[in-house]
């Protein structure tokens, strides 16, 4: 009998990794991710999870050890945040380019300097182009479900790619949320033991990671592009099947009261749930507003996004990272680019907010929406605005 429990989201992710029967966890402590790997270390220490826990000496080595364990065919998990994700940077490209599946939970965190352990999405945006499948989650249940889906998607022989599961640092990672855990038997069926098609093994020696002269590098990269784009079909298939079994449905772009809305707000991650409260309030006041959330960040859901916003007049995009000296938020920049050639598209206004753990309340979202409407009517001499800065 499945039952609903209250549990800290970090621990819930650890329990999901246990349900997935992971083989190797290589990790290094960093706030606000640490509770995830602490819990996994505890599960391994108590014999509840039969896995090798490698307490590495850096995130660079964490990701490197994950390359090794994935290359021999072990189901591999790690977690990190902020600076840790940055230290892994070059290794991330290797994991995806060598098609080594693994799952990494990222408790999204701001980047130094000044040092901030608190949440935003600067770390994610800096690793945007590393070739990983990237999924944003919004609550504890979502985090558990998509940790399981991430293994299934990445290990699919048609995909064989690493997957990041992004959750807000502190605002989600440290919250106690209601979670329904699937039964082990259900998970075993949904996520059968992993079989990597070409592992390192003396019985069949393979060379992995040979270097590419100019005559072959472009071909290797194109193959990677095709592979990552094609993963979307498998992701949709996985979410469909997950929904059929567990009754919880996920999709690349999710909408909330958006169908007939003239003004749409676009968010990623946990802030979306706060924004829903604002939408409800404003709808109650008769305003034509709605919310669009991007769940699947890579591969980017072009078609779903275009479909979701095509009837709106105004699209207000909230970023939680800055592209310094550039167009403002990376999400806004991508959304704008995805819609630019569309015949029918909304006007787009970009905001940056919620940096380094600064909260955005329901009232804050209302201010953003109203200011977005104002800017769209009166115009602005700025490419974007930063919300909530004390002047």
């Amino acid at each position: 009998m499945v039952k609903r429990v209250g549990i800290e989201v970090s621990l819930a992710i650890g329990d999901a990794v246990k349900l997935a029967n992971a083989d190797v966890i290589a990790a290094y402590p960093i706030t606000p991710q640490t509770h995830i790997v602490e819990h996994l270390a505890e599960l391994v220490a108590n014999g509840e999870l039969d896995a090798q826990y490698i307490p590495v000496e850096s995130e660079h080595s964490a990701m490197s050890a994950c390359l090794g364990s994935s290359a021999v065919g072990a189901r591999t998990f790690t977690a990190t945040a902020g600076q840790g994700l940055e230290l892994m940077h070059e290794v991330l490209y290797v994991a995806s380019s060598m098609r080594l599946p693994m799952v990494m939970a990222v408790a999204n965190r701001a980047l130094s300097a000044p040092l901030s352990v608190w949440g935003d999405q600067s770390d994610v945006m800096a690793v945007r182009d590393t070739g990983w499948i990237q999924i944003f989650v919004e609550n504890g249940q979502d985090a558990v479900d998509n940790t399981l889906c991430a293994f299934r998607i990445g290990e699919d022989p048609r995909v064989l790619l690493p997957v990041m599961v992004h959750l807000d640092g502190f605002y989600l990672s440290h919250m106690i949320e209601p979670v329904v855990f699937p039964e082990q038997s259900q998970v075993d069926k949904f996520l059968p033991p992993y079989k990597y098609p070409m592992p390192l093994h003396p019985d069949k020696p393979v060379t992995m990671g040979a270097f590419a002269p100019p005559i072959i590098y472009s071909e290797a990269k194109k193959a990677q592009v095709i592979n990552l784009e094609a993963s979307k079909g498998v992701i949709l298939e996985c979410w469909q099947e997950f929904g059929n079994i567990f009754g919880r449905h996920y999709s690349p772009v999710e909408r909330y009261r958006s169908e007939d809305a003239k003004v749409l707000l676009l968010t990623l991650g946990g802030f979306s749930e706060t924004a829903m409260t604002t939408i409800d309030k404003m709808r109650g006041e008769g305003k034509s507003v709605g919310l669009v959330r991007i769940r699947l960040w890579r591969p980017f859901p072009f078609a779903e996004l275009r479909q979701a916003v095509k009837n709106a007049e105004l699209l207000i995009v909230l970023d939680r990272a800055i592209s310094f000296g550039g167009p403002g938020g990376p999400v806004c920049s991508e959304v704008r680019s995805a819609l630019y050639n569309e015949a029918k598209k909304p006007k787009i206004i970009g905001f940056v907010g919620g940096l380094g753990g600064r909260d955005i309340t329901p009232a804050g979202f209302e201010t953003i929406i109203n200011r977005g409407i104002e800017v769209s009517q009166k115009g602005s001499d700025r490419e974007f605005e930063i919300f909530g800065v004390r002047e």
Binding site: V24, S64, L67, G68, V91, H201, P202, G209, A210
Partner: protein, 306 residues
Amino acid sequence: MEKYSVYVPRLVTKRENFAPGHRACIGCGEALAVRLACKALGQNIIIANATGCMEIVSSPLPYTSWRVPWIHTLFENAAAVASGIEAGLKVMMKKGRIAQREIKVVAMAGDGGTSDIGLQALSGALERGHDFLYICFDNEAYMNTGIQRSSATPYGAATTTSPAGKVSIGQFSWKKNMPAIAAAHDIPYVATACPSYPFDLMAKVQKGMAIQGPAYVHILSPCPTGWRCAPNLSIKVGRLAVETGMFPLYEVENGKYKLSLDLPKLRPVADYMKLQGRFRHLSEGIIKEIQQRLGKEYARLKEKAS
């Protein structure tokens, strides 16, 4: 050094796990060292190789020189990748996902990948006690990028980033004692070797492989290109490095030092240096200074081994 019998070469396998046809420079001591090491390692291994000369000469897509399972990922992480391989194999054998058998994990890197950029990952892997063998192929500089100094470059050697000049003697610091750093992790086995002593090298690699837990073998690999010497002198230069005390051969087994070749008297270091262009600029005074320091270091090593 007991293995000098004329029969010994006949006992060595003819199988080449590091295949011929790779693109190493003529006279490459490192390719020879890798070849000998691979003979000693056999086939029940998985190699994690750092970026560097040996990776570049052996693996241009779509070719490979490796007849054993081999992975290259990055420059500084060979020991960390090896950690993951070892842990992965262990748990999958325990869970019955792959058949139970002895598969040794071997990490390979150059001196830069070991004593500079990869030192942290190596220290971590040694400290955690993974069952693996780490082999450093030391050609005493970043040769793959064009002869830049590393912390393993010997004092006084000219490289492109430690050039000899009017106010410079070349390399300004003494060679980092990497085997001692490895030994300081209290691992069961540390050894130094040189392809100029092939049977000693293979015996040490085999010993390092057989031991449970981390083992470290540091192999001096003469590089005619970077050392500026004739390619037909690689073996001779390697021997002279050992005989002059520039690179003594020894083992550290469970903390106990043992000289592999006990030299009653060191050959003058000038015999070694005069064959190599990288030392050409050194004054007699500097050579004397080096000679004195080598004498002291060798005495200290002997004392440890006594």
